[in-house]
Amino acid sequence: MDSVAPVKMLTVLGAICLVAIAAVIGWAREPRQYRADPPVSAALDQLRLMPDGIGGTSPEVYFAMGKPYESTGFDLSQGKRLYSWFGCSQCHGDGRGGKGPSFIDGWWLYGPSMVSIVASIRNGRPHGMPAFKDKMTSDQIWQLAGYVRSMGAYSASVVAPSRNDDKTSRPAENRAPAAILFDEGPIPVHPKQGPSP
């Protein structure tokens, strides 16, 4: 008797576990994409921007992929790497701005949507923001945009990058620096940011 009960229990437990595992696997897999397929990459370039270049909608393929560039730890940390590799800190500092605008003051000159940030990096903006479309691949641009957004988030995502093995000047992205260092920002528009978009 007492040798049968544990076996039965193990079977029941095992069955429950298997079902739970199957459900979770179907729902929450987090595969890494090291290189976007060329057709996906091409589709990612089809930004649907408003005529003034501010706001709009991301390409359909981005939603079909499950918005990975904002929601996976790997893409966000790749974005963090690209941020330093492509010298973004030259103008934007550690995210708190410098010659260029800050990312954590709550003020997005061209709106906070993913597609605007991608457009800014890809095509450049007036008053000094260069275009990177010939220097970076499409998915790199999206990774960088996702990272820039994560810097300015007021509640940290669990997948946001952590500190680097380096001297640090502000809390890492996984601790929501924008919420800690909140600064209402220049309203109306800071003179350095230009008279109009």
């Binding site: 544990p6 979770v24 987090e30 595969p31 997948v159 952590s162 500190r163 680097n164 093995d165 996984n174």
Partner: protein, 637 residues
């Protein structure tokens, strides 16, 4: 003898055998049904679960190994990509070390130690139940994360900075580190139980010099666990802190130290090898005498060698770090201490050889595995002495030579004795014999398959093939041997398949074993197979090192135990003189709920530091339920 004044319940001396058995069964048996099974604190039931779970993890880890061999069978194969391969070798190592080798050895201890020292349950039986659930949840966490494509990919040693916040994105490394916390918590719990059981619950008369060698080995192993595991728990917790909260333990730019990780890891990691190996020494020393028909040669020497190995094992962790750039003097010291461990290992080997030499060996399956162990472990030990020297280690570091070496010592040194031990104690655990014919097949396939698989890896290593590569170019001269190794690994896997088929078949249909099928000498064979919930009808009294050989006709017993409550005999530490009758905790579902609450807190804390605050509330509730006073007297002299 004192009679209980306050109760009408009879003592064991008042009852005849059948009546006594019925009364003890009523007191000690777990309730039937699902919740009865969850609540049980019987060390045999929990150990059986532990063993089965650990062997399931062995199968899963073995499948990963086969996947790696498939990928490496030819150059530039495309079965597995680099990212998946990183996850697979990390999972294989972590799984085999943390979810198979250590837990299975501790599980054998949980099963055998209380029986071998002649007591009715392990010390702290509820902690024991808690330990199993924590181990199970830790294993599920790791495998579930692997299935989710978030399996750790940083190697089973997870060196920073590769596993640190900058270079290991996502939660992969955190899941690894938290799995460590789960398994080490489980291991520490078991270690404490074993130490207390061995020191305070031995049968009357079992003085320290009469303890079976297996029990000595488990005792030394438990002390190693207690001293080594905290290092890795500190390491894994600080790694999670670095990654989650942004502490700087491993950040050299702000006063941290990347090398600190390696020291903490290997301060645990080297004793870990002996945590796995010493129980195997105990198993071999216990199996041998039964098949050669004479007591073990050099009991005192073997016990001293066990203790010496245990002490020395804390003084040689740096030999894993020879190429990291440490001072020369340090390297020389650790070369010397690494070679010194060959002395107690040699003593053990010669004691076994002398036992074999002086006896009349009967070549049954358990003995075959013991012989396979001696051959394989000696080869692994010899390459161990080789890589203990800095110049040679600098050459072969991170090559397949090292892979070959540690598989020789781990599979040869621990898995062979373990399978021998399963063949040996399976009759005790299930009441049925395993098949001798299939056992011989299993041994033949595993032994040949093992050597054909792992010996060529020495050569591959000397030819320069590095570890942890997911493929290699066709121009390199490694393709032939790699294909040979991959084909040989199929033989090895077939051997394990035969073993598992044998175990499953025999569980239901094996021949009945009887109490002592091997005519062995230790106390676990003095009770029925499988043992009843109360282990021994009457507590045995021990007068020699091999009680069942010297007093086989009628083993003396101690009397005066009460039967209406779970009661054990507490004895003195050195002489094992009876000191007190102590109550043993009854079944409880609270260890299960505590384990669930702990698991929630630990997993949550990967994602938010606040989990430690809010998650501790359910743990506190569960612990209050666990320790709620029942108003029964604890013990009396």
């Amino acid at each position: 003898m004192m009679r209980d004044r306050d109760t009408q319940e009879p003592l064991d001396v008042d009852l005849d055998d059948a009546e006594l058995a019925a009364k003890l069964e009523k007191t000690w048996a777990s309730r039937p049904g699902f919740w009865g099974a969850i609540a049980t604190v019987d060390h045999k039931v929990i150990a059986r679960r532990y063993v089965v779970t650990a062997f399931v993890f062995l199968i899963l880890g073995g499948l990963l190994a086969m996947a790696m061999r498939l990928q490496l069978s030819r150059p530039e194969a495309c079965f597995i990509g680099p990212d998946r391969y990183n996850q697979i070798f990390t999972m294989h190592g972590s799984n085999m070390m943390f979810l198979f080798a250590v837990p299975v050895m501790e599980a054998m201890a949980v099963y055998l130690v209380p029986l071998m020292v002649g007591t009715r349950n392990i010390a702290f039986p509820r902690l024991n139940a808690f330990s199993y659930w924590i181990f199970l949840f830790g294993g599920l966490l790791l495998w579930l994360s692997f299935a989710l494509d978030t399996g750790p990919d940083v190697g089973w040693f997870a060196y920073v900075p590769l596993s640190g916040p900058q270079y290991a994105p996502g939660k992969r490394a955190d899941l690894w580190a938290q799995m460590i916390t789960f398994t080490e918590l489980a291991a520490l719990a078991v270690a404490v139980e074993i130490v207390v059981t061995v020191f305070k619950q031995r049968a009357p008369g079992m003085s320290l010099d009469r303890i079976p060698v297996l029990v000595w080995a488990m005792l030394v192993m438990s002390f190693l666990v207690i001293m080594a595991m905290p290092a890795i728990m500190v390491a894994s917790s600080t790694l999670i802190l670095d990654r989650l909260v942004g502490t700087q333990f491993y950040n050299p730019a702000l006063g941290g130290d990347a090398l600190l990780w390696q020291h903490l890891f290997w301060f645990f990691g080297h004793p870990e090898v002996y945590i796995i190996f010493l129980p195997a020494v105990g198993m071999v020393s216990t199996i041998l005498p039964s098949f050669v028909g004479r007591p073990l040669f050099g009991y005192l020497l073997l016990v001293m060698a066990l203790i010496a190995t245990g002490v020395l094992s804390f003084g040689l962790w740096v030999h894993h770090m020879f190429v990291v750039g440490l001072p020369r003097v340090g390297e020389s010291f650790f070369t010397a201490s690494s070679m010194a461990i060959a002395v107690p290992a040699g003593v053990q080997i010669f004691c076994w050889l002398a036992t074999l030499w002086a006896g009349r060996p009967v070549f049954r399956t358990p003995l075959l595995f013991v012989l396979g162990f001696i051959v394989t472990f000696v080869i692994g030990g010899l390459t161990g002495v080789m890589v203990a020297s800095v110049p040679l280690d600098s050459q072969v570091h991170d090559t397949y030579f090292v892979v070959a070496h540690f598989h020789y010592v781990l599979i040869g040194g621990a898995v062979f004795p373990l399978i021998g031990a399963v063949y040996f104690w399976f009759p005790k655990m299930t009441g049925r014999m395993m098949s001798e014919r299939l056992g011989r097949w299993a041994f033949g396939l595993i032994f040949t398959g093992f050597h054909l698989t792992f010996f060529p890896m020495h050569i591959l290593g000397l030819w320069g093939m590095p570890r942890r590569v997911y493929t290699y170019q066709p121009e390199l001269p490694w393709a032939g041997l790699n294909l040979f190794i991959s084909l040989s690994s199929v033989i090895l896997a077939a051997g394990f398949l035969v073993f598992f088929i044998d175990a499953l078949r025999s569980w239901k249909n094996g021949l009945p074993a009887g109490p002592n099928p091997w005519k062995a000498s230790t106390l676990e064979w003095a009770t029925s197979s499988p043992p009843p919930a109360y282990n021994f009808r009457r507590i045995p009294v021990v007068g020699s090192r091999d009680p069942l050989w010297s007093e086989a006709a009628d083993l003396p017993v101690a009397a005066g135990m009460r039967t209406h409550r779970r009661e054990l005999l507490v004895t003195s530490m050195v002489e094992a003189l009876p000191q007190a009758r102590e109550s043993s905790p009854s079944d409880s579902v609270w260890p299960f709920w505590t384990a669930i609450a702990t698991a929630i807190m630990l997993i949550w804390s990967i994602f938010s530091p606040w989990a430690v605050v809010w998650g501790s509330i359910p743990i506190a509730v569960a612990l209050i339920g666990w320790f709620w006073p029942k108003g029964t007297p604890e013990d009396e002299s």
